[in-house]
Symmetry: C2
Subunit: 192 residues, 2 copies
């Protein structure tokens, strides 16, 4: 895989743990680029997560079904890593899917091969440790945002902290992300 197409990814790596050239090449060797059209699933429900994704361009979400209702767990924008960690770290099939919301260019890193690289490149293991530690912190922060806040508070916090989501993502997906129905979200937006 040509390293120039991985420039954005390597830029992200530098923020966590800069890699020696050999390590970058090793990652390039197990990576590939795919383009995915809007509304397509990048990974379907029931599939075991064996790829760590990075978004060069586009938007994605992780979603699942609860009692037949589509629930968005999270959104992902450019220059971010996506993985269904509850599958990636356990080896179990995921009940969640990854869907593309805007035509996307995505880097896929083969997870099993990456985990093997951990043995020969401690810098790579450290890099991904730090990446997922940061993601973990985000997730803890998210719980705080949900617990004991009203729907309106959650909407306003989103407006404040991640207005891009509201600008670029259909509201029906935002509603379940906030833990409310689309109709409630519409009502809250209409207030004042």
């Amino acid at each position: 895989m040509d390293k120039t197409e991985l420039a954005q990814l390597f830029q992200l790596f530098k923020k966590y743990n800069a890699l020696p050239v050999k390590a970058e090449e090793a990652i390039a060797a197990i990576s590939s680029i795919i383009t995915v059209k809007k509304n397509k699933d990048l990974q379907p429900i029931g599939h075991t997560c064996k790829t760590i994704y990075f978004i060069n361009k586009g938007i994605a979400r992780i979603y699942y079904f609860k009692d037949g209702i589509d629930i968005t767990e999270n959104f992902f924008f450019e220059n971010n890593i996506i993985a269904r960690v509850e599958s990636l770290f356990t080896g179990k099939p995921s009940r969640k899917a990854i869907q593309i919301l805007e035509d996307a260019e995505i880097v896929g890193i083969n997870a099993n091969q990456l985990f093997k690289l951990y043995d020969s490149f401690p810098e790579i293991e450290r890099l991904f440790r730090k990446i997922f530690e940061a993601a973990y912190v985000e997730t803890v922060h998210r719980i705080e945002g949900i617990q004991f806040h009203t729907a309106e508070e959650r909407y306003k916090a989103l407006l404040q902290e991640a207005p891009d989501i509201l600008k670029r993502v259909p509201l029906k997906y935002v509603a379940s992300y906030l833990g409310i129905t689309q109709v409630s979200l519409s009502r809250i937006r209409g207030l004042k």
Copy 2:
């Protein structure tokens, strides 16, 4: 620090990534044991988390205040690791505290010294990577439990998945953990 007092901790390590004796000794050298009485704070709000804890005996919770109201983020029982990761992994002061709910015996591991050990003992870095990956997965699972479930569903799930919490922890702490008021929890428990 005498390794025999760390037997439970090393037992936990074996589940994730068994350590060579030298590595166990290195961890023992930066660990200490403390006993903490019920209702005492192990770590206060505003303190930067520089210690990773392990519970030999007792129960703890992480809590914080929202608009003056005490909210429980999580409970921790015997043989589990506790850390306020949003502080540990960022180096920022935590807005959360760790409180002991039953007289406890706790192992404290000096975090900065532990992170230094990562350089000389890749097995230790891997061990803690896996420990926190598992904790991350738990946290993702938790979000799913909160999003789009009614208070009654959340209570029943807790009764199913972690009945110990309801047996050993005051309900006022459980209520905020479930994201509801104590009065609502009491009402839900009274149903049927």
